[in-house]
Amino acid sequence: MKKKIPGRALGEAVRQLFKKPATSAYPFEKAKLQPKFRGRIAFEQEKCIGCKMCVRVCPAKAIEIVLSADQPAAPAPVEGQAPAPAKKKFDCVIHLDRCVYCAQCVEVCPKKALASTDDFELAQLDRKALRRHYK
């Protein structure tokens, strides 16, 4: 049988009295994040081609890709060439309450239009604000 020592943690407890607290003063102090943290998903409209791969892989059905309300006009026809169709523009809607921040959409996007950010303070008082519409 091992020896029994009462108050074995006492020395450690006394030593802790003279140490800095292990907790941080969040929210007054910013939380420290590791470099590859997966937070809110950001969207860059210029890069998106509307392939909807992100929608297909999302496990939480949290992302939607919709046609933008205002579409750019078709480029002026050049003589001697077939008229080029207008490049379509897409908006991205992310439901922050459904998203599980897995970043699978970021990984699958062929044009790197999506990216993980460091933003994790996403609580809202208004439920509607959880639906982010990136235009």
């Binding site: 020896k3 029994k4 074995r8 943690a9 997966r38 999302c58 599980v100």
Partner: protein, 400 residues
Amino acid sequence: MSKISIPLGPQHPGLKEPINFGLVLEGEQIDKATVNLGYNHRGVEKAAEERTYIQDIYLIERVCGICSHSHVTCYITCVEEIAKAEIPERAKAIRVLVGELERIHSHLLWLGIAAYEIGFDTLFMYVWRDREHVLDCLELVGGNRVHYSINTLGGVRRDITPEIKAELLKRIDILEARTKYYTTLATEETTVLARTQNVGVLPKDLGIRLGACGPTARASGIARDVRKDEPYLIYDKLDFKLITADTCDVFGRVVVRVLETVESCRIIRQVLNYLPEGPISIKVPWKIPEGEAVNRYEAPRGEDIHYVKGNGTDKPERVKVRAPTLANYHAVPHMLEGGWLADVPLVIAAIDPCMSCSDRALVTDRAAARSAVWSWEEMRRNGIEFYKRRGVDFSKVTLK
């Protein structure tokens, strides 16, 4: 003395998990105990059939918040087996690395909870403070503290850079030193000994008969560990000890877990030094051929079993999860019987239970002697009917 029976749970201040125990007491001593499950069924298996293999990775990860990597690794090994994909060695090593980090995180979490149940809050606070190191390591490797999402079909998603390796080695040294301190603390401190020795006894033969697994079994002298019995990933190349204890009580379970944590630190160091060069993943087509596979994995709580059946599409035909807690439930009434009421929370906590991992549904109609599996719609309809009968208002919900 007359006997009284009391229910413990599913909601009880001394019990953090949704489970019900029926206790028959004689004074303060437990004469008989029964266990009732089924308070937290979430339909994960059914939901998995409705999603693609890639989406299921993130769903299966959420079977459990603590052993998220264990479940996914077990599931994905099945899928890769069906697809006949051999993943790169580096990916295997990274999976082992995260698996062992997870074991440290889970065991330290448990040690804190056990200390809290004992009433030794000082130990609880210190353990959880030091556990932050391993959570930071996991965030560094995977990008999040709890759901690291490191696995993908055909390998892992993120690589270990030399900077990450250096940081991990630094943190592991701190963790190992701290765990060694907790080992002496937990095995010598009078309070811990008084509360854990000869409490919740599970004799070896009973443990084998009831199919206990993981640290619960190993603390009863049953030398069972999937990592040793049927090495997966790169465990056959690693040097580590299978920890057992022969005291068969809660004290044994404490000893097994703290010593396993030290072993995990050793494994992590070996993996980091071994880490072969090469790609971290291979391409696996989204459509998985027909076939079935079953795999075992040593999760922090014990043996985790997954079964996957593919049907040639991008969605699985069937996914079955057997979480380790389900195997350990049966032993709990035996551990409780003959013990004291005050020890109940500690004895239950000692198997490191995770109820929501374990709740699965199969409808058994005894009268008609038939069992059936419900479809997603049926399950939803039945759930709604059930709550309507209890007076929940569904007028604002659109029902399909």
